[in-house]
Symmetry: C2
Subunit: 139 residues, 2 copies
DNA sequence: CTGCCACTTCAAGTCAACTTGAGGTCAAGA
DNA sequence: TCTTGACCTCAAGTTGACTTGAAGTGGCAG
């Protein structure tokens, strides 16, 4: 008995049924058949869902994830793409560190205005630079 | 000439006028006055925009950024909030670091399929776990 | 003084990733 | 057999962060 209905998949994976239907519609997962009207899923779906969760948490869009998954059944993901994503995360981490330092500094700083504080100003300058160059778009 | 109209702010900051109006509506920035109908901004706005850019690039929502920026209420509460935010960022950084390491590993891993690689599997499991517990949300 | 057009407002549109709701079907337990 | 209610479909709604468009206004070059 390696068949699961949508509620069971939801229960085990934590992914709501509505989302599972949505993912199926998008081609990210598939049900292996129907029992009556009801979808029937194979155990495979759980790995698939884990992969999707991983991709999402790494900042990939569903479309990107779909591209990786559909390439050939198994998760034979493009290594270059992984490295690009890793670099992107590195940059995010650097920005987060700057932001965290800025917040800690702001909380501790005695200066009458943050505008007067050199640490804060440097932080600001870096962020402004990046914003001007890259325009919008995060994640 | 320490006053800028919206187009000038846009030109210098790289932020579209529509976005500036939107930010003002949200209370993230403010114009110092009007010249006729037209908004007039102070130099301060650039620092403000830099902060917003920094926050956005670090993955914060406009609402969260608003919370950090607006020092409404007592200054002590404000500091505590900033520190909490900083701690939160620390946790995010740790998670991202693990993720990045995992991605790099997956890219380098010799296993025939990522599904076979234990490191990758662990990553997937963690992501799935997190998804199950927290429901939605990326970052 | 006039006219242009950059600016204004306000409503609506967009995109991703889902969720919700209305109305319908059917497997299974009483 | 009948009832229940979990599942189905399809359309529309939601949220965040903006963008776009229509219609109006007024600063300023000529």
């Amino acid at each position: 008995m390696a068949l699961f209905d949508i509620a069971e998949v939801g229960r085990r994976s934590g992914v709501p049924a509505s989302t599972l239907r949505f993912y199926e519609e998008k081609g990210l997962i598939e049900s292996i058949g129907r029992r009556g009207l009801r979808r029937t899923f194979d155990v495979d779906v759980f790995e698939r869902l884990s992969l999707i969760a991983l991709g999402r948490s790494a900042g990939f869009s569903l479309e990107e994830i779909g591209g990786m998954l559909r390439r050939d059944g198994g998760p034979e993901i493009d290594r270059a793409q992984l490295l690009m994503k890793a670099d992107e995360i590195d940059r995010t981490i650097r920005r987060l560190r700057a932001l965290r330092n800025g917040l800690r500094h702001a909380a501790a700083c005695e200066a009458p205005s943050h505008a007067q504080c050199p640490t804060f100003r440097r932080l600001m300058a870096v962020a402004a630079e990046r914003a001007r160059k890259t325009g919008r778009r995060v994640r």
